[in-house]
Point group: C2
Chain length 122, copies 2
């Protein structure tokens, strides 16, 4: 995860800030969490902490609702999105594994400097 995505996923906003940022009410935000559509972290004292991604998602949820989708619909939508994302990530690691394997072959066959593997470079 890059620096930018990391910043966007940092849980830093208490609910009051999110209310100002989104125009939603506390009730709505808490209900969306109860419905497992967003997953804010918690402070030591149990106060909700939202990330920028959470804020985006809250706005998306509200748009869906305005378009007369139900919470269950939205939950399912995000479940599918998550699966897609996970397949993508699996593809990435598969590719990395193949690359590692290839490196091994190269170094063992003596075609490459045996003390240096390409995936260690940079």
């Amino acid at each position: 995860m890059g620096e930018k995505e990391l910043r966007k996923s940092m849980a830093v906003f208490p609910i009051g800030t999110v209310i100002r940022l989104t125009g939603l009410t506390a009730r709505q935000i808490r209900y969306y969490e109860e419905q497992e559509l967003v997953f804010p972290k918690r402070s030591e004292g149990n106060r909700r902490l939202f990330s920028l991604n959470d804020v985006d998602r809250l706005l998306d949820i509200h748009d869906f609702l305005k378009d007369r989708f139900t919470m269950a619909d939205i939950r399912q939508y995000y479940a599918l999105e998550k699966e897609k994302q996970q397949r993508k990530e699996q593809e990435m690691t598969d590719r990395q594994v193949r690359r590692l394997f290839q490196d091994e072959l190269l170094s063992e066959s003596g075609l490459s400097n045996p003390t240096v593997n390409s995936h260690n470079l940079r």
Copy 2:
């Protein structure tokens, strides 16, 4: 001001978040404000609200202090920065005024379509 700078100057973080983000103590943060080095906004209920720019500045201030600069030094430094910035902005508006003036001349002399001024294009 572009969209990005606008986001960075939005006062959205309560002090607790800033504490987590910077590692500074509440005492330090409040003292830096008392010394007029940062200027957080206030919520309706009088709680401090910081922007990302404020967070950056707090970290900078702390670095200056670690380098044994005094608050007065830092205050002066930022005063100079501000002047520089203001001169720059004045330059910009001067340039705009000259351009507007030029446009007027052109349109009145009939060299340009009188119903369209170039600074209105795009």
